[in-house]
Amino acid sequence: MTWIVRYVCLIPALPMLAAGISALLPQRSRKPAAGLAIVSMAASFALALCAFAAALSNPSPQVFNFSWLQFGDQTLALGWLLDPLTAVMLVMVTFVGLLIFIYSTGYMEHDENFTRFFCFLALFAGGMLGVIIANSLLLLFMCWEIVGLTSYLLIGFWYQNPRAAAAAKKAFITTRIGDLGFLIGMVWLYAQAHTLLFYDSGRGALESGAVSHLAVTTTIYGLTLSSAIGLLIFCGAMGKSGQVPLHVWLPDAMEGPTPVSALIHAATMVAAGVFLIARIYPLMSAHGVEVVTPTIALQVVTWVGAITALFGATVAVAQWDIKRILAYSTVSQLGYMMIGLGVGGPAVGMFHLITHAFFKALLFLGAGSVIHGCSGEQDIRRMGGLRKYMPLTFLTYGIGMLALSGFPLVVSGFWSKDAILYSAHHWSVSQLPFYMASLGALLTAFYMTRQVCYVFFGTLRLPGHGPVSHSEPDSEDTRHHGAGHPHESPAVMTAPLAILAFFAFALGFLGTPLWPWFQSFLNGDHSVAAEHEPGLVATMAASSVIALLGIFLGWLLYGRQSIATCEAPDVLERAQPQTFRVLHQAYFIDAIYDATFVRLTRWTAKLADLLDRFLFHGIVQAISFGVLGLAWVDSFVDNYVVNFGFDSSWRSISMGGRAMAALQGGRVQAYLRYIGLALVALVLYLLWGVAR
């Protein structure tokens, strides 16, 4: 199977080729464009499966390098590699991508720029797959930028909507701020290691020679070189993966079409940052001498991840827009992946990445189906009772919700989140990330239950339950869908949902503590053995309780309330008012919850929301105003100082010229007068000389 290593490059090349061809197609050739994109993606998927099989039989990194730039004895080489990490990601991205491409043909059916959409989508897939196969930080960076660019193009796909245009700009610029760190880290790495290849038969930047050299060299503040470079590269990952404080763009990115949110801003691109850290993990974790504590770089990753995880979860509780809830949830889950990387290594983080990709894609596509069915409504307060109208969507969405909440034992999200919590619990530096992550997990289950209650349970609250105000200006999704009753989406949209739902279930069993196949595959050893580590069952129990508690709380607050808010008073209350009141007051549960948990949760959520709106947004604004101010000053200096210097010196020269010209006026009398004066002066001078 070594042929596949050489041809791995076809996996990104095919979608890029499709993008190139459909860019040249006329706008009205809709079918060829979509067909081309889907066929190329399917072919890539097939190749990815072959690559996966190859990695299965030979888990050590297999590379194909070539020199791109050569300067005397130095080269800048590019190349691609195949190792378990790449193989897993390839299969995930091509598979999820393929499903979303198919789904998009239904979702974007009525859009006038259908061809352009598929062109961008295919280009994105090509860039993302390029990031995955890259064996060179440089190639990775190049594809990374393509991914960022297409993300921009797709968020701003409906650029006539000013919010979409603004969101696109914000996304591109915010991620580029992170990329600046990435670029500098890359340049520094090249200057130190003289190569940007990851693996190059012993000479690569991630192999023991270079890494051990970097790990013993220290720079400022006692930071080892490997940690410093790793942290700079982590800046890029923070931008792409929406880590606090660079997360601001991700919720706004939801202005793009929903399949884009699913593919790019939930399943794949935002995970690229996590993937990058997993890729350079040898660098991040490099120890100079034998020390037990994790490196600074990994500690930073963990803390940033923990803050992000908790932050995203709290904010998600306070949202009304179905897609924004999911967006903040994505931010939070990306934080979990970072914690996983920081405390448990690539296998832990990547496992959550893979399971998350499936269930978050499922949730987004489900949300898309809901939006599609409700004629573009995105506010969950105006939904309700949809389980009767969209049974298939409800069923699959419910599975996604359970997976995200970490419902014990049966869904994939439980296993991957449990692995993270377990590793965090055993982290040697601090227990705080564990508690933050646990609280986040509780909130996750809570807000997902709340959302599901609002959307699918209770009574239908669509305005007028029928003729929706069709001129809903702020939601471009609505433009072409007719108003009316909520309806189930076509099969081309529900079939991908069903497939994703299956995987949201099944994937977890690849990485249970009893049979940690995924972890051992990624770590490259084949001893698939159950590890009985201390505290395993306890953590599992704890995370089960957390998830169940969250779901229960959500149901208690929203599921029950929704039913109770019907016009008629509660049946129980009418029949037995006394008992009802006793029951109501005896337990004090509502009151306590209201006074403590709910209020606290609400307040924290509000606070976090305020922080998001004012603090981080304010910082971005302040910096941009600062830069603009500086620019104005520069512009002023240019106009009035530098340019003034030019103008005034020119003016003085021309004045000098004018004075000279005045001397040469052609008036003979004047000349004679001058000559006379000169003669007198000369005579006086000579006389004075003689007199001495």
Binding site: L69, F71, M142, E145, I173, L628, D634
Partner: protein, 502 residues
């Protein structure tokens, strides 16, 4: 054969002047023919001399008593710049297809300018180089003063004065070197090989370097560039940004740095922590990068944005030259090519595709015109050119900036960090201009009274030519590197690499 690039251009200019005034389309075709054949010759030479070593084209005595010869020679660096000139020249003719006013004169000046630029790149005798360098100024002035727009007399005069001040400094330095070396020859290798005293080099180097760098937009001598670019007609601003600014950078590398390599070395007494001209110019280059980008950020005139972006991009070239390592110098040369292609294209979009149709360059006024749907080709071209300009991978700008940053990291790590911020601001200003000009919120104003003319075929061909060249360099930079590296390794640059390149 390569000398014919010069002769064809000059000959074409002469023929055009003889044409009757009304034969506009004949004039265009003749100009295109001349530009294409010159470019063809350049391409043939580029392909034939792939080893990149120096070869002599013509060598005849000219002013024998002074040891001045008519000596044309080329190596990899000049070959690639000659090819760049050829490509930009073709694109410029195609983008000037709409010139109706004194067409034959316009193209005559245009070809004169092109011929002189070829001459500078191919001259080996420094006196000859200086003569061509002076010839460049004249058509440049007339192109702007006659066919330009906004404050054209001012722009043209300012450009001419700056150029003349620069060339005066160059002339002083060259004469001093000629005299100090025994007044026997003006040949580049003779002068470069002469062991000038360290003191002499310390004095002469900044004079000649600044003289050339004025034309390369060195901060704070850059102010001619934005006003000149804005005043110039499209083709002239393309040539200005595309090749004329490169003349300055080429002179810095080819003359100032090879003649006086010791001038780059450390001073005996550091001043304010700076201890060489090299650091001074590197710092000025970085200031230029940041400053140009910042000023571009707040311009209201579309063309000024591009004008200041040129200052910023030229800063990269000067910084690359000052790194004095192989990576940085190669990056500087690739940036010369890259900016020649992309800067030219940006000016073409603004000047020809937009301004010639809308008659305004105010970003605020362009926004409501819905240009992205009225002129989709212009919008797409600007997006592509903007991406290329901000150094997106796949375009030549990325390779160049990457190499310069790596080179700068080795020489001046702090400055390399500052350059990173320059790149970031570069993204923002391109973005702002793009958003404001093409993708602004749909205005409520009525569409312009007369519909905008669609983009013509010559414009499309020219845009495709420039983009394709940039992508070719971006994807396979080795093509250029192979030809410029033997030149950098040659004896001519020996003084810059005591003990080999870093």
């Amino acid at each position: 054969m390569l000398a014919w690039t010069i002769y064809i251009s000059f000959f074409g200019a002469a023929i055009l002047l003889l044409l009757p005034k009304r034969a506009a389309s004949l004039a265009r075709c003749l100009a295109l023919l001349a530009a294409t054949s010159a470019c063809g010759i350049a391409l043939a030479a580029f392909l034939r001399h792939r080893t990149g070593e120096l070869f002599t084209i013509v060598d005849k005595p000219w002013i024998a008593s002074l040891g001045i010869r008519y000596h044309l020679a080329a190596d990899g660096i000049s070959l690639s710049l000659v090819l760049l000139t050829g490509i930009v020249a073709i694109a410029g003719v195609l983008f000037s297809w709409d010139i109706d006013d004194r067409t034959n004169q316009f193209f005559a000046f245009y070809l004169l300018l092109i011929g002189a630029v070829y001459g500078v790149f191919l001259s080996y005798d420094l006196f000859l180089l200086f003569v061509f360098y002076e010839i460049v100024i004249i058509p440049k002035y007339f192109l702007i003063a006659n066919w330009g727009s906004t404050r054209r007399e001012y722009g043209a005069m300012k450009l001419a004065i700056y150029s003349i001040v620069g060339s005066a400094m160059v002339l002083v330095g060259l004469i001093a070197a000629y005299v100090a070396a025994g007044s026997s020859s003006m040949a580049l290798d003779k002068l470069a090989g002469f062991p000038f005293s360290a003191h002499f080099q310390m004095v002469a180097f900044p004079v000649v370097f600044v003289g050339f760098a004025i034309l390369a937009g060195l901060w704070p001598f850059h102010t001619w560039a934005p006003t000149g670019h804005v005043a110039a007609p499209t083709a002239a601003s393309m040539l200005l940004a595309g090749v004329v600014m490169k003349l300055g950078a080429y002179g810095c590398l080819r003359v100032a740095m090879t003649l006086f390599p010791v001038g780059l070395g450390p001073w005996s007494h550091p001043v304010l922590g700076i201890d060489s001209w090299r650091e001074v110019f590197a710092a000025l280059a970085v200031i230029g990068i940041l400053y140009g980008a910042l000023v571009a950020l707040v311009q209201r005139d579309f063309k000024f944005v591009i004008g200041y972006s040129s200052v910023s991009h030229m800063g990269f070239i000067l910084l690359g030259l000052m790194t004095l390592n192989l990576m940085g110098l190669s990056g500087a040369i690739i940036q010369m090519i890259s900016h020649g292609l992309i800067g030219g294209l940006l000016f073409a979009v603004v000047g020809r595709m937009v301004y010639a149709r809308t008659h305004t360059r105010e970003l605020a006024a362009l926004g409501p015109m819905n240009l992205s749907s009225a002129l989709p080709f212009a919008a797409v071209t600007f997006v592509v050119a903007g991406m290329a300009g901000m150094g997106l991978p796949g375009f030549s700008g990325f390779v160049a900036e990457l190499m310069i940053v790596i080179g700068a990291w080795r020489a001046f790590p702090v400055l390399a960090l500052a350059v990173g911020f320059g790149i970031l601001i570069g993204i923002v200003y391109v973005w702002r201009a793009m958003q404001k000009a093409f993708f602004a919120e749909r205005g409520h104003e009525l569409p312009p009274p007369h519909p905008l003319q669609p983009i013509t075929i010559p414009e499309k061909i020219a845009a495709a030519l420039l983009i394709a060249s940039s992508v070719a360099v971006g994807l396979y930079p080795q093509m250029v590197l192979n030809i410029i590296q033997p030149a950098l390794h040659s004896l001519l640059f020996a003084g810059l690499r005591p003990g080999g390149w870093q």
